[in-house]
């Protein structure tokens, strides 16, 4: 590691960007007790459902809008990629750095 300062400024900029994107908790909030084993189990149980839940919600919204506007498959199809993206967003929120719960 030669560029210690450069590294740090990059870390700072990254932290700032992440903070403004809502991907980080503020560092001021106290750290929860780090019990890595139970943390891993908890995380594993959480992730699959996070991914699917957003997709399900998106499909339900698309289906409902289709019924409303009589545009049978199209809005549902349009909402599937949005739901998938929202699922990935949920995952980033769940496993992203700083948010350990």
């Amino acid at each position: 590691m030669s560029g210690g300062e450069g590294n740090e400024s990059f870390e700072q900029r990254l932290a700032k960007a992440r903070g403004s994107a809502g991907m980080d908790r503020p560092p001021s909030s106290g750290k929860p007790p780090d019990n890595s084993n139970s943390n891993a189990i908890r995380l594993a149980m959480r992730l699959g459902i996070e991914l699917v839940a957003a997709l399900v919600i998106a499909v339900v919204i698309g289906w409902g809008l289709d019924r409303l506007f009589h545009t049978r498959p199209w809005l549902m199809i349009a909402f599937v990629p949005i739901g998938a993206a929202a699922g990935i967003r949920n995952l980033i929120r769940a496993v992203g750095p700083g948010d350990k719960s």
Binding site: A17, G19, S20, A21, G22, P26, S29, G30, K31, P32, S38, I41, R42, M45, R46, I49, E50, A53, A54, V56, I57, A58, I61, F79, I82, G83, A85, A86, G87, R89, N90, R93, D99, S101
Partner: protein, 250 residues
């Protein structure tokens, strides 16, 4: 096959409790367990806090431990404002924990294994945290769905994603608790059913061999106790996280 078979889902069947009166008002066994859970919490705390000793006894330290655990969770996750939401989080945590644990006793009904119950709790948490967001920030809370520092032409794509991600919260919150509890109870029942099937079909050899599923069930029981605590904790801490988002908007 005319012999015994495994009816793994029969344990989740709702029946009515409290005799004819309960039957008339559809007071189910699930409701019965909810009342029991709430009663146990109240009695536990009333008894535990009666002494009010400076040096707590066993029951008092148990009660104080639960209290401090949830309180620290609130303050750590939400921030100093978290104290205001402590009663809500504590109620949810203790109710779900007692429900999970009571469900592990034979002949007891696990009310947290019903999607109706968990979804109701989750929707309540969802509406409450959304209400808190609007109460604290007014209509500026809608900015929660608009990520900062994003070029304007991306917003029509990103805002629906954020909204769907937000709407998926009650689903993931409720399905997680429901799925964990249901899966655990089905597994326990299936392995218990193996013992009966083995004994019925293989006679004395089957009875000896059924030590294996029995041992598995013992291990599963330990896992289920862990899951009971874990899921109550996860539900409570996610409630805290959502409240954090509502209060701090990021």
């Amino acid at each position: 096959m005319a012999g015994p078979s495994i009816d793994a889902l029969g344990q989740f069947r709702l029946t009515t409790g409290l005799g004819p009166i309960g039957h008339a008002v559809n007071f189910t066994n699930s409701n019965e367990m909810m009342v029991v859970a709430a009663g146990i919490i109240i009695v536990l705390f009333a008894l535990g806090l009666r002494a009010r000793a400076v040096v707590p006894g066993r029951l008092q330290s148990l009660v104080e431990m639960i209290y401090e655990f949830v309180r620290n969770m609130c303050v750590d996750t939400i921030g100093p404002e978290g104290v205001k939401f402590f009663p809500l989080v504590f109620t949810l945590f203790s109710f779900i924990l007692l429900g999970n644990l009571l469900g592990l006793f034979p002949y007891f009904f696990a009310f947290t294994s019903g999607i109706v119950v968990t979804l109701t709790l989750a929707i309540f948490v969802f509406l409450f945290s959304t209400g808190v967001g609007f109460y604290v920030h007014g209509f500026r809370f809608l900015k929660f769905f608009v990520p900062d520092g994003v070029p304007g032409w991306l917003l029509p794509l990103l805002v629906p994603i954020e909204i769907i991600s937000y709407l998926s919260r009650p689903v993931s919150l409720s399905v997680r608790l429901f799925a964990n509890m249901t899966a655990g109870h089905v597994m326990l029942e299936v392995f218990a059913g193996f013992m009966i099937l083995l004994t019925a079909s293989l006679g004395i050899f089957g009875a000896v061999a059924s030590i294996v599923p029995l041992g598995l069930n013992v291990a599963l029981m330990g896992l289920e106790v862990l899951v009971a605590f874990l899921q109550a904790y996860v539900f409570a801490i996610l409630t805290c996280l959502y409240l954090h988002d509502a209060v701090h908007m990021h």
